[in-house]
């Protein structure tokens, strides 16, 4: 009897401690589970943290790893892609994503993006959107001050210099605004999605009646073009389009 009570106490204590855990504690607990081989347990905690809105490059990277180790390649790819949006230059994420991609069924001759689009996206993802936004505002203020100097200091020696600097600051400010918008677009309004069903048919029209066009397997990344009811029109990496059930994919 005493033992039962003790067990109950321990159990309750476990629940209480679980409830009282800070996100950081849960994060390190998941790390411990991963280390001891309980990959699906770790993945569940990481996923919960993500669903609660916590974002960090390492959290998403670890979640991807845990899903990969527990055999869920599609979710692993999903989380690596999300991590890549927070840290486009992280080499480990790229490496693991490449390994996870090598384990999926569908292979595509993907059309590479134009180099300047790639560079622009890379630049946009280097810092979060809000940092770009604040930097753009600061740069705008600098441009205004320089413009005022140019306009008011009659016959001052630095007049010409201040003119060119004002122009440059204004251009920089606009560039930063567009980077902030691009980052926001990529991170918060991403149109990319990962197929989660193990097999799904792409049709020529939304609904179950359209002609069957292609078959996709889990882990493939597609671009969502439009949404209609429970169906989404997706573009495949090779440029083809088709309608797929919405519940068979998860947006990045």
């Amino acid at each position: 009897m005493r033992r039962i009570l003790l067990i109950q106490f321990v159990f309750l204590a476990g629940i209480v401690s679980l409830a009282a855990q800070t996100p950081e504690e849960r994060y390190s607990q998941a790390g411990g589970l991963y280390g001891s081989g309980d990959y699906s347990g770790a993945a569940a905690i990481y996923r919960k943290l993500w669903e609660e809105g916590f974002r960090s490059r390492d959290l998403l990277y670890n979640a991807g790893n845990a899903f990969f180790k527990s055999g869920d390649n599609a979710s692993a790819i999903l989380f690596y892609e999300r991590a890549k949006l927070l840290a486009p230059a992280d080499e480990d994420i790229d490496y693991n994503l490449q390994i996870a991609r090598s384990r999926i069924t569908d292979r595509f001759e993907s059309v590479p993006q134009l180099f300047f689009v790639r560079w622009f996206d890379f630049l946009a993802l280097l810092t979060p959107t809000n940092i770009w936004a604040v930097a753009a505002l600061v740069m705008f203020l600098v441009a205004l001050v320089l413009a005022l100097v140019f306009l008011t200091k009659a016959r001052a020696r630095g007049r010409l210099l201040s003119f060119w600097l004002a122009i440059a600051a204004m251009i920089l400010s606009f560039l930063m605004i567009s980077l902030a918008l691009r980052n926001n677009n990529l991170v918060n309004h991403n149109s990319k999605a990962v197929i989660t069903c193990s097999i799904v048919t792409g049709r020529s029209a939304p609904g179950e009646t359209g002609n069957e066009l292609f078959v996709l397997h889990s882990g493939t990344t597609v671009t969502v073009e439009q949404e209609l009811g429970a169906f989404r029109e997706v573009r495949l990496p090779d440029g083809n389009k088709g309608w797929i059930r919405s519940d068979c994919m998860e947006k990045i």
């Binding site: 974002r55 990969f68 008011t152």
Partner: protein, 604 residues
């Protein structure tokens, strides 16, 4: 009373029949072993009559009767005497031990009815029933008139299991059943056992047959070939028929209408050997696939095994060979069990294992893997514990066998044997052993919920508008200020010449008082004031150089500038030097007035 009467009648009847002397005798063993066959023989010294068999106990399994009649006609001294007899043989097997009673049998002729004695039989519990324990050399007996299930000679493939897992061994044999005499077998053609891996078990050549009763029919049986089958594919696998030619001893003469039974053929006719082809029935074996997922350390072993590992030494010299032995023991598909994968530490050279299978006739035995290891580096090396999964078809699950690892200590001086040779250290490419994702990051991370993006909020954009608004406001204020400043400067500019002339007039007035210094100071002030107003330079930071530069910028003559310089020098010089030298103040005033006139023309 009635009983006595019937007994009397019976007795009388017996007496009457003495002429014929009809008797019914029964022969049966006193005891028999359970499961073993024994005979009950009824003999009647008459041929015409109705024999009604006894009601055997239900636990008796009875075959027969095998009936034979004989008739002897004797002539003695002209008297003819006929002796005839009928024999009925029952073959009985009783399964359960106990004491049983064989009830009386009845025989009825037209005149008389006789019955046999009742017999007690004790059935004792024997060992396991051994079918065909009695070996009848050279003679094949066929039981009574029990119908044969097939023909007189048949062949069968017997398998110990018809539903197995892939890789699970099936022991089987090809068995011959015959009811007739055979003199030999030829052209044995075994099927190709497609889908199986067949392993023959050494079988003695068939020399003698054993008796066996199947469905009430006695057969002579013999095992032609024993084998073990290992299914390689899953599904319903068909085993094609096996074929063989048997040499049948066949009666050549006409058949006796009374003894149309192969049993009697050998007695009453000459025989010849005739070849006859026999085949087996095709079989199907259901092979279930091994359940998924298979463990990573499963290498095809199916059965029940134990595993051991040993090593020849754990304290070794550099470059001395070590043997690690892994022994797999048990029953199963030993031959098909792959070698365990041992991740030997780098620095120990590993050779492919030497594999020995010691199988004790059937599928059980041992399989020994001997790994030859040569340590090429000194240090302590850890050979990890070994795990090897086998599928246990009885438990229908994978069982992971484990064997201990070893720690090998390697001592010695590296490169000792090559000490004489010139030192050459070959570079070695890094060995990549596998590919896996990189490990997680467990360092501190800043887990923050992301605030809303600024670019999608209105107030962020309002900041830009506000900044622009403030800038425009500042610009407007500043412009106004500049305009006002420009206005005062303009007034002073316009009045510059006038003011200067006023000062000069005052200087001229001072001339009369004779105060030379005051006059000169007034001239200097007039000039400086004029220059400051006209050139828009504040009086506080006016210098000669600044004025000259500005004048040159406004295309003033160099002559004019020289004149200005002279006047300024003169007026300032006379202020601080003795009065005697230099020009008279009156001339200075005049010259200053002329210069201002000239400058005014240029600067306006």
């Amino acid at each position: 009373m009635k009983k006595i009467m019937t007994a009397l009648v019976f007795l009388l009847a017996c007496l009457a029949a003495t002429a014929q002397e009809v008797t019914l005798t029964v022969e049966a063993p006193e005891s028999a072993v359970a499961g073993e066959r024994f005979r009950i023989i009824y003999t009647i010294n008459s041929t015409d009559g109705q024999f009604s068999p006894p009601k055997f106990d239900p636990s008796f399994s009875v075959q027969g009767p095998q009936q034979s009649t004989s008739r002897n006609v004797q002539w003695i001294n002209g008297d003819m005497k006929t002796i005839s007899s009928t024999t009925l043989i029952y073959y009985v097997v009783v399964g359960t031990p106990g004491t049983y009673t064989i009830p009386a049998a009845q025989f009825e002729t037209k005149k008389v009815a006789v019955s046999s004695q009742e017999k007690q039989i004790i059935i004792t519990a024997g060992g396991s029933p051994q079918q065909g324990a009695v070996q009848q050399q050279g003679q094949v007996k066929a039981a009574g008139d029990a119908p044969a299930s097939g023909s007189e000679v048949s062949m069968k493939i017997l398998l110990n299991d018809r539903e197995v897992y892939a890789g699970e061994p099936i022991t089987g044999m090809l068995k011959l059943y015959t009811r007739i005499n055979l003199s030999g077998i030829q052209e044995l053609k075994l099927p190709d056992f497609k889908g199986f891996l067949k392993e023959d078990i050494e079988t003695l050549p068939l020399r003698s047959l054993e008796t066996e009763v199947i469905d009430g029919v006695q057969y002579g049986t013999g095992v032609i070939q024993r084998f073990v089958l290992y299914p390689q594919v899953s599904g319903e696998i068909r085993i094609e028929p096996a074929g063989m030619t048997v040499l049948v001893q066949e009666r050549t003469g006409a058949r006796d209408p009374f003894f149309d039974d192969p049993f009697f053929d050998s007695f009453f006719s000459s025989v010849s050997t005739v070849p006859r082809k026999i085949t087996t029935q095709p079989l199907t074996v259901k092979v279930k696939p091994l359940p998924e997922p298979r463990p990573a350390d499963f290498h095809g072993a199916v059965g029940s095994f134990t595993m051991e590992s040993s090593i020849s030494g754990t304290d070794v010299k550099l470059n001395d060979a070590v043997t690690m032995t892994v022994t797999l023991k048990g029953s199963g598909n030993l031959n098909l069990s792959g070698e365990p994968v041992i991740s030997f530490p780098q620095g120990i050279e590993k050779y492919d294992p030497k594999v020995t299978v010691r199988s004790s006739g059937t599928s059980s035995g041992t399989k020994v893997f001997e790994y030859l290891l040569i340590p090429r580096n000194t240090g302590t090396f850890e050979i990890p514990p070994l795990s090897y999964s086998v599928f246990d078809p009885k438990a229908e699950k994978y069982v992971t066998l484990r064997a201990g690892g070893f720690t090998v200590k390697v001592t010695g001086t590296p490169g000792q044997e090559e000490s004489a040779a010139p030192v050459y250290i070959p570079g070695e490419d890094v060995k990549y052993l596998g590919q896996d994702i990189r490990f997680i990051r467990n360092g501190k991370t800043r887990l923050a919920t992301v605030s809303a993006p600024l670019v999608s909020t209105l107030h962020y954009w309002l900041w830009f508008a506000f900044a622009l608004f403030v800038a425009v406001l500042v610009l407007l204020v500043r412009k106004q200020q500049i305009r006002r400043n420009a206005d005062t400067a303009g007034v002073r500019n316009r009045r510059a010449a006038k003011n200067a002339r006023k000062r000069l007039a005052r200087a001229t007035a001072l001339l009369k008082s004779g105060n030379k210094e005051a006059v000169n100071a007034e001239v200097a002030r007039a000039l400086w004031g004029y220059l400051g107003d006209k050139l828009r330079i504040a009086q506080s930071d006016i210098t000669r150089d600044k004025c000259y530069a500005e004048l040159r910028g406004r295309k003033a003559d160099e002559e004019m500038i020289t004149e200005l310089d002279r006047i300024l020098t003169a007026s300032e010089y006379s202020q601080y030097a003795p009065v005697s030298e230099g020009e008279s103040p009156a001339a200075l005033c005049e010259r200053a007035g002329a210069l201002i006139g000239k400058l005014d023309d240029v600067l306006d």
